[in-house]
């Protein structure tokens, strides 16, 4: 960290602690008791404790209001506490939050999701996006009789062992990344099940061919989120589709972020590419924990054993809380509103575009070299660098210290973003004025950082 940037970061954090005594004392208590191991989350520059939220705003325990640009890491497309979701949950709480046999509401949510995925017929629910992608990989292995999984550099797919490679780390040549485990404690041999592909790079196709005979599937995010909000190019996805067909592997879209975020369903609705399996999470639960694996009947049906069949005849998907009534109620309420009002996506795109344009104009006015990524209501950055980034690898050249400092300073301006701001979300509750305020706050902070020599 540059000397001045470091000093500034410490000064801003100290000031935030001083002005947020309730969060500070909660944090001090957390350090003293030390029951939650990590007292500094990797996402938040200072741990502000949340009291409540409404619409586009989040209020901390010290009474400060923030324009929320994180929206619970994405699920809350209609903002915090949309009336339809609140009403559905209030009713469900009274009717019992959890059952063993299925809730009568599981089916309605499944229908809305399936209808939003071109070519899909069925789904199975899990509890998280990560569990869904785990299920998708197993279904692909069952369908192909092969074991190896292809994934892209920078792709974040949750908790499943073979997908925990090259999530955050970069190694090897651009067109041929070197395998790096981004999680400790993975078992021996898992690395042999993984092929890491470059993202948005045609060199991926030859790698798929090279491993063709052993490859069960390629898992790809139509928009890489954690990596820095980089949409996959249509030609890249089309190329993956073609080469997967060529080698007989399935193509899996991880749409935990993009599902019902860019369109009323799968990103495939707006792309000329059809995956074999789609995984979703986040938005489809209306703010409750959720995951789903979605596809054609023949691909999803094996998640349950044939009547009277044994465990060894199924692709195991289970989970005490999978398809639970609270998630079903909240998810249905949120998705129904989105599906019935597709114009909401135009509004979301309009404010997303306003955000990106505003931030780019601010960079340009201040003469700061930097770039903003994203599509629809999702954006990443600004990334302070000279060349427009198209992948996580490109961000190696960006000034990450300045990025973290920017997010930290924005808290003082009433704007909540992760640090650095790799993946940000808007909701239908955000107004043009909210967007303009966020842009203005960026402009003020960037100007200050510029004058301090931090950019």
């Amino acid at each position: 960290m540059g000397g001045r940037a470091h000093e500034l970061m410490e000064a801003v954090r100290a000031e935030l602690w001083r002005t947020h005594p309730n969060s500070a004392s909660a944090h001090a208590h957390a350090i003293k008791r030390r029951v939650i191991g990590s007292t500094r989350s990797r996402f938040w520059p200072v741990p502000l404790y949340v009291e409540r939220a409404e619409g586009a705003y989040l209020y901390d325990v010290d009474g400060f209001r923030y324009i929320d640009c994180n929206m619970g890491h994405g699920p809350l497309i209609l903002g915090h506490r949309p009336p339809a979701v609140v009403a559905a949950l209030a009713e469900q709480i009274r009717g019992g939050n959890h059952y063993g046999p299925p809730s009568s509401k599981e089916c309605a949510l499944a229908e809305l999701i399936v209808a939003g995925v071109p070519g899909a017929e069925m789904l199975a629910f899990t509890n998280s996006g990560g569990e869904s992608t785990m299920a998708a990989v197993r279904l692909a292995r069952a369908a192909t009789g092969r074991e190896t999984v292809g994934k892209c550099e920078g792709g974040l797919h949750g908790n499943y062992e073979p997908l925990l490679f090259n999530v955050f780390s970069i190694a090897g040549e651009t067109d041929r990344p070197e395998l790096v485990a981004d999680c400790a404690g993975l078992p021996d041999g898992v690395a042999n099940d993984v092929v890491v592909l470059p993202f948005n790079d045609d060199a991926a196709f030859d790698l798929v061919r090279e491993h063709g005979s052993e490859l069960a599937c390629v898992v790809v995010e139509p928009l890489q989120g954690s990596a820095g909000t980089f949409p996959a190019s249509t030609s890249f996805l089309q190329g993956l589709r073609a080469v997967c067909d060529e080698v007989g592997a399935l193509l899996v879209f991880d749409e935990v972020i993009t599902g019902f975020r860019l369109a009323p369903g799968s990103a495939a609705l707006t792309l000329d590419v059809r995956p074999d399996l789609v995984t979703m999470g986040k938005a489809i639960g209306g703010g409750m924990p959720v995951g789903a694996v979605i596809g054609r009947r023949e691909h999803v049906m094996p998640t349950d054993s044939p009547p009277g069949g044994g465990f060894h005849e199924q692709v195991f998907v289970g989970g005490t809380f999978s398809g639970n009534p609270m998630t079903s109620a909240a998810g249905y309420a949120q998705l129904a509103q989105l599906v019935e009002n597709p114009a909401l996506y135009q509004e979301l795109s309009a404010i997303g575009e306003r955000m990106r344009r505003g931030l780019r104009e601010a960079l340009s006015e201040l003469g700061i070299p930097g770039f903003v990524t994203g599509v629809g209501s999702i954006w990443g950055g600004p990334y302070f660098m000279d060349r427009e980034p198209a992948s996580m690898r490109d961000l190696l050249d960006s000034n990450q210290v300045a990025g973290k400092l920017l997010s930290t300073c924005l808290l003082e301006h009433g704007v909540l973003m992760t640090a650095p701001a790799h993946l940000n979300f808007l909701s239908t509750a955000h107004t043009e004025e909210d967007v303009d305020q966020v842009v203005e706050a960026h402009r003020d902070v960037m100007k200050m950082l510029q004058s301090e020599g931090c950019l």
Partner: protein
């Protein structure tokens, strides 16, 4: 269709199954219609349809010890959300906590106070737990615990017992129901298709309640990172570990430098405020919680020794690959934390609940045994506290092998007959503080009616 049905009827029991199925269909016309609709988008009409053959109960609402389905039929519920609801459905404390959190918002990025509250409750009660990490399910929790063990020991393999259930985590998704090999040295059998051979290569299956497990562990001393075990096998049929067995596992794990992981997804806050570890007086290095810890909201918890968790999950420095990853958008979400604090808090602060749960459980087991004995039928009731297993095996089961002799036809029909009679119970039954002595007595009476019918139909001879 007609020809295959004709063939099926010739199989023993098929006619009984078909008749029972027809009775269910007749009793639940709206359920049948919903099942048809749901089967178009969900495999056989719901996630986990395997539990609810041939026709799932589609629940409309629940309160206390009772469920109501979409046909308006009431059921006294001995399943309780697969065991999660120790206080019963819609307990006032849980309802109030969820309503209050709903007023504030369901889900945020940054943390809330109640995350700390639940973490403190867990650390203050769970033996050996200094630190807590929240995830979304028991499955995710056991995945994390195994990684901590591998990182801490530098070894790769995992020991699990035959009949042990640890969720969809493929490294332990073995030899739960698929049993073979020498009793003292069971084969490693996968319980799912679509799993890489890497998983199977990393599993050692141990005999349950069998001293030969200790030798097997010693033999694997250079490669075994941990042994994971439920103190009472839950999905495996409410089969308690013998105290000497858990004590022996503890000793031999310490001896060879492997970690002992207690999977208390079912037993945590069900057997007592200190779970199975408290019940047995044996402490694991790591503990995995789920179900009850979230008050009915999705949850998984990894907790354990501070030094272990600090070094593996939150190392002071290093690259991402030096830390065990346990992320998740909804991990530690405020609704789960609120419901968890309400349920766990109620149970921890009012330990008399466990006296009631023990009484209800024991009354169930005693009642079931009395009925079996009166009717001269070979049925066994197992379990501890509020966990009750019913088994049509030839011997009193102490491990999963003993259950190979199970009359599955009778077990399946029993569940269906109980459903027709207004009770939900899947072989493994759970009780809650919302259940009364009368509920238990009515359950035992329904069990007797079902047994008489099974006997009259000749289903007990199969």
């Amino acid at each position: 269709m007609s020809s295959s049905a004709g063939v099926a009827v010739e199989r023993p029991g098929a006619a009984l199954l078909e008749a029972a199925r027809q009775e269910l269909l007749d009793a639940r016309p709206l359920g049948v219609a919903h099942h048809e609709r749901a089967s178009r988008v969900l495999p056989r009409g719901t996630t986990r349809a395997r539990f609810w053959e041939p026709l799932p109960i589609y629940v409309k609402k629940a309160e206390g010890a009772y469920l109501t389905d979409i046909d308006g039929r009431d059921y006294c519920d001995f399943n309780l959300g697969q065991g999660a609801l120790v206080l019963g459905h819609a307990h006032p404390a849980v309802v109030a906590a969820l309503e209050s959190q709903l007023e504030k918002g369901t889900h945020f990025g940054p943390p809330t106070h109640n995350r700390m509250e639940l973490a403190e409750l867990i650390v203050d009660t769970t033996p050996g737990a200094d630190r807590v990490a929240f995830v979304n399910s028991g499955t995710e929790a056991s995945m994390g615990a195994l990684r901590i063990a591998r990182k801490a020991t530098g070894r790769s393999k995992v020991g699990k017992v035959e009949g042990g259930w640890h969720g969809a985590n493929e490294f332990v998704l073995h030899s739960f129901m698929t049993l073979s090999g020498d009793v003292g040295r069971p084969d490693v059998n996968l319980d799912s298709i679509g799993v890489s051979s890497v998983a199977t290569d990393n599993v050692i299956v141990l005999p349950f309640n069998d001293r030969r497990a200790f030798d097997r562990i010693r033999e694997a001393r250079d490669e075994l990172a941990c042994v994971i075990i439920e103190p009472v096998l839950g999905g495996g049929g409410c089969l308690p570990a013998d105290p000497w067995y858990l004590e022996g596992l503890r000793a031999v794990c310490t001896e060879i430098g492997a970690l002992l992981i207690f999977d208390e997804v079912i037993t945590g806050y069900r057997l007592g405020p200190r779970g199975g570890a408290g019940h047995y007086g044996v402490t694991g290095d790591l503990t995995v919680l789920g179900k009850a810890a979230g008050g009915g909201q999705p949850i998984g918890v990894i907790c354990g020794r501070g030094d272990l968790m600090d070094e593996t999950m939150w190392p002071a420095s290093g690259s991402p690959g030096d830390a065990v990853f346990a992320g998740g958008t909804f991990s530690g979400n405020p609704m789960t934390m609120a419901a968890g604090v309400a349920m766990v808090g109620e149970l921890v602060h009012h330990p008399e609940h466990y006296v009631q749960l023990e009484e209800l459980g024991e009354r169930s087991r005693v009642g079931l045994r009395r009925v079996a004995s009166d009717l001269g039928v070979t049925v066994f009731a197992t379990g501890v506290g509020s966990m009750v297993g019913v088994h049509f095996s030839k011997v009193m089961p102490s491990n999963e092998r003993d259950l190979l002799s199970t009359n599955h036809l009778a077990a399946h029909l029993l569940r269906v007959y109980l459903e027709l009679d207004g009770f939900v119970s899947r072989g493994v039954s759970f009780l809650s503080t919302a259940h009364t002595v009368e509920d238990v007595d009515r359950f035992v009476a329904a069990f007797e009616r079902a047994l008489r019918r099974l006997r009259a139909e000749g289903a007990l001879e199969a």
